[in-house]
């Protein structure tokens, strides 16, 4: 005859085994931060963060539209807008990737939460 205590203990262990990966995943997801090494990485991270944090943002959104949404939500975007000018020169203007402070972009991306890090590939990242 197995005692009730053993059954309870076994159930506890089973529960822990079942829920631990779930809890771990949730915490890991929450702790994931954009880890950018340059301006392009930072904007790639921001793009992913936006897609997750603002699900009603249409797939065809542009940076200006995204910034508009953030601004409307009370997010400080001034620093990010400055960085965007340089990023666009690189992205669409064919200029070399500038060595600029991208902390403001990373800050906004991390603030949006639920990010999954950035795409690898550094300066060449992007579609």
């Amino acid at each position: 005859m197995v005692s009730n205590q053993i059954i309870l203990g076994a159930l506890l262990v089973l529960n822990a085994a079942l829920y631990a990966p779930l809890v771990f995943t949730v915490f890991r997801r929450r702790r994931r931060k954009v880890n950018a090494s340059n301006l392009a990485d930072a904007f790639n991270g921001l793009e992913l963060a936006l897609k997750e944090a603002v699900p009603d943002l249409p797939p065809g959104f542009t940076w200006e539209e995204a910034i508009g949404r953030l601004r409307a939500s009370g997010v400080q975007t001034k620093g990010m807008e400055e960085a965007l000018k340089s990023y666009e020169e690189y992205r669409y203007g064919g200029l070399p990737l500038p060595d600029l402070d991208f902390r403001e972009v990373v800050k906004v991306a991390n603030m949006l939460g639920g990010t999954r890090g950035v795409r690898s590939g550094g300066a060449s990242a992007g579609r």
Partner: protein, 314 residues
């Protein structure tokens, strides 16, 4: 030069603003179109300052300006000119019509029969006029600013698709807001004089800016994005006619001018998206069968949905 473009834009908007209130966006589009070597169709009900904007805009450019009131009895000869027999020399000689100018205001263009409307096609597309085998080049710059009232049905000849496609931009003149209307009323108490508008740029500056537009970079990725948008308009179920290659080329040119006026040497997806409605909607034809089933919306809504679907390079 980039700073100069932005400076000139501000000057033009300020000068036109002396006689027209609350039409900054429309003036901006006119300037973009001029720099991109395009033509403009101004559409709106009577009394929303279409002709005044066109006149003030031409005045502040300091260019040669002619206005033709289109009527049902107008002839191609009245626009492009023709051969007249000179009694003194006893020879036929070519007499230039009002199209030989820098800015041609074709007022109420849809009141003229198709024969006259199509007489403008060659001028608008090839910047020249051919009459009986005789070809004459038009001066630089050449821009047609046409106006039409979309609500008139009696005694009008709607512009055919081919003619509409020649207009780089269609600018919709909507009623002003309450605040702007109040300002307009105040301004009109003391009278308005178009002669108050001063020249904002020289011909040399204009030529330089037009050349600068050609130097504005459009990346391959942005072009691919545009091609995907064009394809989406052609596959859209509620449209019979999507955007033509010419429409997309004009969108690129206009976006380049917008970028230059914004102080940039490259085009962003934002540039394209912000002017797409002005450049494309007049070229899209709604499927009437779909419209009857209640499937279709207006061209602006369809275009917005397409741009929302197609992912730009970021």
């Amino acid at each position: 030069m980039r700073a100069l473009a932005a400076e000139i834009r501000d000057k033009v908007i300020k000068e036109v603003g002396k006689v027209v209130i609350g039409r900054e966006k429309e003036v901006d589009l006119l300037l973009m179109c001029l720099l991109a070597r395009g033509h403009v169709l101004l559409e709106g009900v009577p009394g929303v300052s279409k002709t005044l904007v066109a006149t003030a805009f031409s005045k502040c450019l300091g260019l040669q300006f002619k206005r033709v009131q289109f009527t049902p009895d107008i002839l191609p000869l009245d626009i492009i000119g023709g051969f007249i027999f000179n009694l003194k020399s006893r020879e036929f000689e070519f007499r230039k019509g009002p199209v030989f100018t820098n800015i041609l205001l074709a007022d109420e263009i849809n009141r003229a029969p198709p024969k006259v409307q199509s007489a403008l096609l060659e001028s608008m597309q090839e910047l020249q006029v051919t009459v009986e085998g005789h070809t004459e080049k038009l001066p630089f710059p050449f821009m047609v600013i046409a106006t039409q009232n979309p609500l008139e049905f009696e005694g009008v000849y709607p512009l055919p698709e081919g003619q509409l496609d020649r207009f780089m931009v269609r600018v919709n003149f909507r009623y002003p807001s309450k605040e702007v209307e109040s300002d307009i009323l105040k301004r009109n108490l003391s009278g308005i004089d178009v002669n108050d508008v001063k020249t904002a740029l020289t011909l040399g500056e204009l030529e330089a800016l037009v050349k600068q537009v050609d130097g504005v970079k459009v990346s391959d990725e942005v072009l691919t994005y545009l091609a995907r948008v064009a394809e989406a308009t052609r596959n859209e179920g509620s449209l019979v006619l999507g955007a033509s290659p010419r429409a997309m080329v004009q969108l690129v040119h206009c976006a380049r001018a917008k970028a230059l006026l914004g102080g940039r040497r490259f085009v962003t997806p934002d540039d394209l998206k912000s002017i797409a409605s002005d450049v494309l909607t007049h070229r899209l034809t709604i499927d009437q069968a779909a419209a009857l089933k209640g499937v279709s919306r207006n061209p602006e809504a369809i275009l917005t949905a397409i741009f929302d679907r197609v992912e730009p390079p970021r």
